[in-house]
């Protein structure tokens, strides 16, 4: 009797294992879970994705926008083919959905993405040429001393409730809403030049002039903040300013607001929000763009964003035809080859839009200071001497196998990286050459740096064995795999790396506050268009100058008295790059900064992700470019107003 029961239990156990295994195989291939065991089967998928990464997609340049007049109204005429109206476009978004519908309070990607469908700004950046062009404005000019910027609005602009959009709205947006710090005050920081906020004045009903205290080249990208409806928001903000409750602005137009109360100037307007399920947007009836036949855009009847908290489910929804498009980041390394196989049967096309502007890097803690509270060094003086030894950092950079990381961890859907500006950036310094893994050269560099290898271990000049702890955030399988690879690569040099994954929040705290860390693998977002956006990272007094973080005093200002020569050089590159308008000189400064970081290796860059999208062939006017990528759900649809659904014959 007992025997039989045991048999049954055994059979059940076997079955469960079998079921689990089957499921695991399908999940393994459908996700980027990466272990050393699966390295072998990665080689087969890599051959398929290699062809993908060779074929960078860039739609043909469709020409400039044309200004057309319909009655009194001045509108931009779009650049794509004339499509047909109607239909619902459904996309999915990974995560927990937007946190707010208040465009100026948004500080997360999901809210920012929805806001970018609803609001426009004075200027746009051309996704082909990277040049600024007028959007709500008709034209703009910069004075000879680079301190005055004059914008003229188009005639006849209207908000979605029919109220005219005039210079008053612009002056309110920049002079009150952003200047007084309503919502997310980072737009104010971006606009401020060395602590001075630019002044803004109304010249006439359609003309606005900004004045900055010193010439500031990144100003044009900063002035791209969305314009706010004064007639709706002023009654609210004036009350809050009076009562000194600027923070309460965040609860206006939050996720519990009534959609019909939103007033927008962009192509779409919120129609319905089902928490945890989807966001539905409908066209703004007063959107000021027309197509080639002078019909008012957008084409779509409805834009639906499904909120999907699991990436496998996101893929399944696309396979099942629930969604029309998998935008950037939805197709991960491990998935790309599988998605590619379904291109024909699923009637969609995959586009490779090149490397992302984000970077993934390895860094050592270069801090040489003592903790004023405890009187102890943040970093053990022995380790300090290693980490501050440039040869060690260079040796590590030559010892890590980036090629294998891209092939095995990203399954080919990545791009090796050696510079502080991603190859996606228009300021990328292409004179800085990539190099392959070279353990022999790495060993030579270590010898030059005074390190000696005895047996299996590396020792410094004083005979201390080189050993340190490497952190990254737990739960991120890509970074986990990177750390394991680095650990193995450095082992061949004799460096013992103790790898320890920790919670993301703790990692951030170590790097930005407690400063008690040796080595970290992290990622940062970047900018394709404006390297000055990285000032917070690169300036020695920056808030994210992570490789040698100086802590702010009680007033929040960071004082630096121990900057290295190369840190000072980078500071001056950024300062000059910010105040120079001449493009070749800007390139010169930002090239020099990349050269310095390439030589000094404060961050040892590893790779960038590739942006891959998969788009149903029934979508018309989909013209993605490597530069025209924003927050999802707008994502690669920089021309979302002219996207249409082809009629099925």
């Amino acid at each position: 009797m007992n025997n039989r029961l045991n048999q049954i239990i055994f059979v059940v156990a076997l079955m469960t294992v079998a079921i689990n295994c089957c499921a695991c195989i399908s999940i393994e291939t459908a996700s980027s879970v990466e272990t050393n065991k699966s390295l072998s089967n990665a080689a087969t998928t890599q051959t398929k994705t290699a062809t993908l990464s060779d074929s960078l997609f860039k739609a043909a340049y469709p020409g400039d926008y044309k200004l057309v007049k319909l009655g009194e109204e001045e509108l931009w005429q779009d650049r794509g083919e004339a499509g047909n109206f109607g239909g619902v476009l459904t996309v999915s978004e990974f995560g927990s959905g937007p946190k707010t519908f208040n465009c100026w309070a948004a500080s997360d990607v999901e809210s920012g993405g929805i806001a970018s469908l609803m609001y426009e700004s004075l200027l746009g950046v051309d996704p082909w040429t990277a040049k600024f062009y007028p959007r709500l404005a008709k034209n703009f000019s910069i004075s000879a001393d680079h301190r005055d910027y004059t914008f003229t609005l188009r005639k006849g602009l209207r908000w979605s409730d029919g109220h005219p959009l005039t210079a008053d709205d612009v002056v309110y947006t920049f002079g009150t809403l952003i200047a007084k710090g309503f919502g997310n005050s980072s737009s104010r920081d971006v606009l401020s030049v060395y602590g001075h906020y630019p002044s803004v004045e109304k010249i006439d009903n359609l003309t606005i002039r900004f004045h900055t205290q010193v010439p500031f080249a990144p100003f044009l990208s900063a002035v791209g903040a969305a314009i706010a409806p004064k007639h709706i928001l002023e009654p609210i903000t004036s009350k809050l300013t009076a009562e000194n409750k600027v923070g309460e602005f965040n609860s206006f137009w939050d996720i519990n607001c009534k959609p019909e109360t939103l007033v927008v100037n962009g192509p779409f307007k919120l129609h319905r929000y089902l928490p945890g399920q989807r966001v539905e947007l409908v066209p703004n009836p007063y959107y000021s763009m027309v197509d080639k036949l002078n019909r008012r855009l957008p084409y779509l009847n409805k834009f639906v964003v499904l909120i999907v908290p699991d990436q496998n489910t996101q893929l399944l929804k696309f396979y099942a035809g629930d969604t029309d498009l998998l935008d950037i980041r939805a197709v991960r390394g491990g998935d790309a080859a599988l998605v590619k196989q379904r291109e024909k049967s699923g009637n969609f096309t995959m586009y490779n839009l090149g490397p992302d502007d984000g970077t993934i890097f390895f860094m050592l803690n270069l801090c040489r200071r003592k903790n004023p509270k405890t009187g102890k060094f943040y970093v053990d003086p022995i380790k300090q001497s290693w980490f501050n030894n440039r040869y060690l950092r260079q040796a590590i950079s030559h010892a890590v196998d980036r090629k294998r990381m891209v092939a095995n961890i990203m399954r080919g859907v990545g791009y090796e990286l050696f510079t502080s500006e991603s190859t996606a950036s228009v300021f990328f310094n292409n004179k800085l050459k990539p190099y392959p893994q070279d353990l022999g050269y790495a060993s030579q560099l270590l010898e030059k740096g005074g390190f000696k290898k005895q047996g299996d271990f590396l020792y410094d000049g004083q005979g201390n064995r080189v050993e340190f702890t490497l952190y990254t955030n737990a739960g991120n399988s890509v970074r986990d795999a990177i750390c394991v690879m680095i650990q193995n690569d450095l082992k061949t040099l004799g460096i013992k790396v103790n790898y320890q994954p920790i919670d993301f929040n703790i990692l951030v705290d170590k790097v930005s506050d407690s400063l008690e860390w040796d080595a970290v693998v992290m990622g940062l977002t970047g900018s394709r268009l404006e390297p000055y956006d990285g000032a917070n990272v690169w300036k020695s007094a920056g808030r994210l100058h992570m490789f040698d973080q100086r802590l702010p005093d009680s007033k929040g200002t960071i004082k630096v008295d121990d900057a290295r020569d190369w840190e000072k050089q980078i500071d001056s590159c950024f300062n000059q790059g910010a105040t120079t308008f001449d493009l070749p000189s800007r390139h010169k400064y930002f090239d020099l900064y990349q050269q310095i970081t390439y030589d000094e290796q404060p961050f040892i860059y590893l790779f960038s992700n590739l942006n891959i999208t998969a788009v149903r062939n029934t979508i018309g006017n989909y013209m993605p470019t490597p530069l025209g990528i924003g927050f999802v759900p707008r994502g690669s649809m920089h021309n979302v107003e002219e996207i249409f659904l082809k009629k099925t014959p």
Binding site: D189, L274, N312, V508, P552
Partner: protein, 322 residues
């Protein structure tokens, strides 16, 4: 003791319990080394001033004791505070509570509908092929991770195109008539309910089987059989009635799960429930939201236990309310 007095007494007892739960939850959340602003701090575009302002807004720069009593006094006023994302916690919970209750009731209903007869059958026909079939099924249900089962069913749905891939409503939901709406929600409920039923089935079925097996060996059952009562009457009128007692206690605990949600299943199936909301809140240390969810869970557990005690009283007259 009469029933209303008993209920009143139990409610009074619940108050200090809830207070202790709230203090424990608060201390645990405070001790967790999670910084709700970590993502802001890791973003190069955010300034120090913004982070300070955000700390001010969320009140995390105040001492913990002050924070706790602020929270408590707001709670007594019926205000659960604001979430880190700015929305009111009351509204956030209300939005999801209905969905979670729907799924919870459906899965508990089907679990018990299947598990009780299956348990009785398995006990009566012990060691037959069908009993072993149930054993295998419940063993799978117990050993299979929920997210895996959910994912397998989703893949099946992708291949067959019969059932929707996650979510709760279709995109054309609001254009449908009342019947269409009902059918739409039903079709979306099939996969999550199946997952939770299969997982929940195991425990209840095994409990029912074991409990009935015990009772069937008791003297009074033998007496009933000896009296010549028909077997169906022996089992259903006499044995099951006694054997059900431990299951009522179990039901009290299951009641608590009605509003706590199933975070993993909800995540994989993109179901807009409370479990997912709570999980996301814990990950971002959304204090007010987590506290509210934990208090709700505690409240449901206490009322589940009370409910079980009352039901037990009705099911078994021997039990006295004290």
């Amino acid at each position: 003791m009469s029933l209303p007095v008993y209920i009143f007494k139990r409610c009074l007892q619940a108050l200090p319990l809830l207070f202790i739960i709230s203090i424990m939850s608060f201390v645990m959340m405070r001790l967790a080394p999670i910084d709700p602003l970590a993502y802001l701090k890791a973003n190069p575009a955010i300034s120090q001033a913004t982070i300070k302002a955000e700390e001010e807004r969320l009140g995390i720069n105040k001492p913990p004791v002050v924070q706790y009593f602020l929270w408590l006094s707001n709670l007594l006023k019926g205000d659960l505070g604001i979430s880190t994302s700015g929305g009111s916690v009351n509204k956030l919970l209300l939005q999801r509570a209905g969905n979670t209750l729907l799924l919870g009731v459906a899965s508990v209903f089907f679990t018990w509908l299947i598990a009780i007869p299956a348990g009785v059958y398995a006990a009566v026909y012990r060691n037959t092929l069908i009993d072993r079939g149930f054993t295998i099924l419940t063993a799978i249900g117990m050993s299979m991770p929920t997210f895996l089962l959910a994912l397998i069913l989703l893949m099946l749905a992708t291949q067959t195109h019969i059932l929707p891939i996650g979510g709760l409503t279709s995109q054309d939901f609001f254009e449908k008539n009342l019947l269409g709406k009902g059918l739409d929600i039903l079709s979306h409920l099939i996969i999550p309910t199946t997952v939770l039923t299969v997982i929940g089935l195991a425990g209840v079925q095994r409990q029912m089987r074991a409990s009935l097996l015990d009772v069937l060996q008791l003297d009074y059952v033998r007496t009933a059989r000896a009296k010549g009562l028909p077997e169906s009457k022996v089992i259903y009128a006499h044995a099951v009635k006694t054997a059900i007692n431990p299951l009522i206690t179990l039901f009290g605990f299951e009641f608590a799960s009605l509003l706590s949600g199933a975070a993993l299943t909800e995540t994989v199936l993109a179901y807009p429930g409370l479990g997912r909301l709570t999980l996301e809140a814990v990950e971002t240390k959304d204090m007010n939201l987590v506290m509210a969810s934990l208090m709700l869970g505690g409240l449901m557990l206490i009322s589940g236990n009370l409910l079980a005690a009352i039901l037990l009283k009705f099911a078994d007259p021997r039990i006295a309310l004290e």
